[in-house]
């Protein structure tokens, strides 16, 4: 990967990667540091990473760093997503944006924080990054069956936690 390719790839994926880290960690400062760390590691390994697999490489590295950070937190006895909050953009306040959206979003933000780190990683990669089951397994370095189990569990837990909000809607 050349210098220009590196710059181009960083500019292309920076916001998505940062969002992924924010949702994984629930802390913007830590997410910023982890995202920067992932980009620095990409720079150090640019000789081994091609442009085609750059996004997957960055997501894999960021996932590892986020899971390490969450493990460190749990060792320190802190709750994984202690200060996690959902800051909805202005467009979310519009009632016509989406089906059940206004009621569902705050509950969804809390429910995401209740998931285990592995379940959260799988559901974010599937729903927010639009990855296939196989891609998720590659990125998280887990078996396909393990990814499926985590995904179904995450969906069930989110559905149960958001059920009240959906009934109100």
């Amino acid at each position: 990967m050349t210098r220009d390719e590196y710059r181009c790839e960083v500019l292309k994926v920076k916001d998505r990667l940062h969002s992924y880290c924010v949702w994984m960690l629930g802390d913007r400062e830590e997410a910023k540091d982890v995202t920067q760390d992932a980009f620095l590691r990409l720079w150090q390994c640019r000789g081994d990473v091609t442009v085609e697999c750059c996004r997957a490489w960055l997501l894999r590295t960021a996932s590892r760093l986020c899971l390490d950070q969450l493990r460190r937190r749990s060792r320190r006895g802190q709750r994984e997503l202690a200060n996690h909050t959902v800051e909805a953009p202005d467009e979310w306040s519009s009632p016509s944006t989406s089906f059940r959206g206004a009621e569902l979003r705050p509950a969804l933000g809390e429910a995401l924080g209740e998931l285990s780190s592995n379940e959260r990683a799988v559901i974010i990669l599937r729903e927010m990054e639009g990855m296939s089951y196989e891609q998720i397994a590659t990125v998280l370095e887990r078996s396909l069956s393990s990814v499926k189990v985590s995904l179904h569990r995450a969906r069930r837990r989110l559905r149960k936690q958001c059920s009240a909000a959906m009934r109100v809607a």
Binding site: M1, K14, T35, R46, A88, R100, R159, C162
Partner: protein, 185 residues
Amino acid sequence: MMNDSPNVGPGNHLGDAVLGYSVDDRLSGAESTKIEEHMLVCEECRERREAVRAIGVELRRLPVEAFPEETLRELFAKTVDAVPPSRLPSRSPWPIKTVARAAAIFLAFSVSWISWNQYGVARRSEVSRSAIQVRYIVGTTARALHRVEQAAVADVLIRGLAEPLHRISSQWLERIPLTKGSSGI
């Protein structure tokens, strides 16, 4: 795709896995038809699948967190802007680590060899110098001893032989008759 085949019937409900596969379009044609037939008669499964879809839609609408511009500038300052472009090969054609190791081994071997040789020369010159010194000392001692010996021998000879010779010569002189001239005196 669907390993946990749905036990679809009016009194049975679909599992979470099957609902997920249905939402993700990972069912075969026959399986999908079977599921849709069940959905027509089971309101609960229909609602559960709708809930899973709605959650997916809302998750995709979660806000994108912009990576801070200042941090991005810091990142580029540490990476692409820190090194001149001409010095940024994506991958060196030389196996740098292997060459470095080989050079280190060669250097160490050369230094060892030179040091050993220098030490050998020094050792040899020291040995030869010592040998010369020993030979000189031995030679000098031998010469000195030789002189002492010569002197001693001469002394012994002089002291030992002089008296007997004198005695013999005296006896011989007494036995020799005097000449006429001398006897008449």
